[in-house]
């Protein structure tokens, strides 16, 4: 460690020196795993779930826009080559064609990255799939902050974009269990859906909580007297970890997992929020237009004068870098959640 004796003796300089001491983490491959080391995982749960669903429903077909391997769609393509359609790097075609396939009675699952689905193909999803209420299933990789590649690939506002689309069901799964159980339900539900895909080695978390995924339902994973976490997506995993960590501080935390963002299970969530406990939402998404605002609007609509504390990404374009660094920087890491809750409780 090279101590810079000439530097002003400030906290900032000390922090900079401490940072310099550690080797800087590298931005990993496009899709960094957010699994903790040693954590139980399942590989490509979406791809395997889609194959299983397709074995039972011969209407299911798969499409992608040159991202089959990166959205676990390749598993389906290998199992059902005649039911898989490669549309090339053409997202407007991908979703227009998905709507056309659905018009003929098929049940398409169409995958790309969330940024491209939400930002690039919105008009096609909106008018070709959602307005006629077709069973088009959008599968979006890299939702929220799950890549270090910067704003071109970080879909930090995908739910904000999609929540305004009538008829669209939005699912933000936590783990491999959620994905495995959600896929057949998405196929069975009428109308378009958007799945915030977790791919590759996806943690298996919810099996410890006697949990089953039900489309449109929030589930209380654990009870607690002091704080209630309302979470979705991978932040439910972090919420459960934070709850355990807070127990060491004698803080008793309940966790409510709400994987379906729209239509939102306000009944279950409001029942949990309408108590004296500190209410915290946790999401892998911008603080604008995602879970926090979904909960907030439900709270206000119900006339509850209840404060809700958001754990969410800031309303800004995020940095590139290593995922652990970024999750820490933007407050999604367990330590940051614990610190925020303790500060709130004073």
């Amino acid at each position: 460690m090279s101590t810079t004796t000439e530097a002003p003796d400030t906290a900032a300089a000390a922090a900079a020196a401490a940072t310099a001491a550690k080797p800087k983490l590298k931005t990993s491959a496009m899709i960094a795993s957010f699994a903790d080391s040693g954590q139980k995982t399942f590989n490509a749960p979406f791809g395997h779930a889609l194959v299983k669903a397709a074995q039972e429903n011969d209407k299911i077909v798969g499409l992608t826009a040159d991202l089959g391997k990166y959205t676990d769609m390749h598993i389906f393509a290998q199992a059902f080559p005649e039911r898989f359609f490669q549309m090339g790097m053409a997202e407007q075609l991908l979703f227009g064609a998905a709507a056309g396939l659905a018009e003929t009675g098929l049940v398409p699952f169409a995958s790309t990255y969330s940024v491209f689905a939400a930002r690039r193909a919105y008009d096609f999803l909106c008018l070709d799939a959602a307005e006629p209420n077709l069973n088009v299933n959008i599968v979006g990789g890299l939702p929220g902050l799950t890549t270090g590649y910067g704003p071109s690939h970080q879909a930090t506002e995908d739910m904000a974009i999609f929540r305004g689309m009538p008829n669209l069901t939005i699912v933000d799964p936590c783990d491999s269990i959620d994905i495995e159980q959600a896929v057949p339900q998405l196929a069975a539900s009428d109308g378009p859906t958007y799945l915030r895909l977790l791919r590759g080695n996806v943690p298996t978390v919810l099996d410890e909580y006697g949990y089953t995924f039900e489309l449109g339902k929030a589930k209380v994973l654990r009870g607690g007297n002091d704080v209630v976490f309302i979470s979705s997506g991978l932040m439910t995993m972090r919420a459960l970890q934070a709850a355990k960590a807070l127990a060491a501080h004698n803080v008793d935390v309940a966790v409510v997992h709400t994987p379906t963002i729209k239509p939102f299970d306000a009944e279950t969530v409001l029942k949990e929020i309408n108590t004296d406990r500190l209410a915290v939402t946790l999401e892998n998404h911008s603080v604008v237009g995602g879970l926090f605002e979904t909960v907030a609007s439900a709270v206000v609509t119900a006339g509850l004068g209840k404060r809700v504390v958001p754990v969410a990404l800031p309303d800004q374009f995020l940095d590139a870098g290593a995922l652990p660094t970024l999750h820490d920087r933007y407050g999604l890491a367990v330590d940051r959640i614990v610190a925020k809750v303790l500060a709130e409780l004073g």
Binding site: L93, A97, G100, F124, E131, P132
Partner: protein, 303 residues
Amino acid sequence: MPTETLQDAAPKGRALQPAVSPERVDKIGAAAYRIRHHALNMGEVQGQGYVGQALGAADMLATVYGDQLRFKAEDPHWEARDRFLLSTGHYAIGHYAALAEAGIVPVEELETYGSDDSRLPMSGMSTYTPGMEISGGSLGHGLTIAVGMALGLRYQGSPARVFNFLSDGELDEGSTWEAAMGAHHHQLGNLTAMVDINALQADGKTDTVLRTEPVTEKWESFGWYTQRVDGNDVGALLAASDNAAAQAAAVGRPSVILCDTKVGRGVPLLENREKAHFMRIEEHEWQTCREQLTAGYEGKASA
């Protein structure tokens, strides 16, 4: 997956279909006349509308509905039907007239065009109108949906063909070309695009807004079986349609018929008016328009 190669499916060198009979031309010409008449009536009730486009495209619509499409008027959702996708939602006035001509929409319903609670909104929507396969209007969507439909029909063993009506203005949209590539890549031989080239779009002449020519070469270079005809010549439209039908196949080349049309066609008052995307027609002029249309049609018929 498709096994036939593009070269095998290419129609080049294949003999053109036998000449179109005068009876077919007369039949479709009469249908086009009635479609134009319906469009003028709808325009008058509404006091406005995309009458110029409807008149220009009437021969194309008459050819498709009167000669090419397989459908059941009493069962618009008949599974084995050919699909006709109107990408240009604002051409709905012409499409409704064609649907009436086809017996899918009652003629007397046409006067509700653009009125509150009508099944015939100003911009075509599948959720409103029987026989309307897609909700067009956001331009550049139709051909992408058509690609999916053709894939889905082929996968399910249907021999149905898919027709997509689009405009030259839609060639501005990148998605049209994504779809053109996709249709060729997937060898969608049962897909036919019909492009209304009226050389006019919202802000003016196409070549002043965004030059799309050379249009023929563009489609050819995308691998499509490409024909370009006078889109107001029923005989030429029928012959081109026959050629496209003759080479249609589950696995093959998609085909496009590029149709040069004239906005306001059939009504000299409108043909000669300054071209506009949204043509202004005074209240007293509608009757003149109808009279000119009829005089022109009867003059041609008796000639």
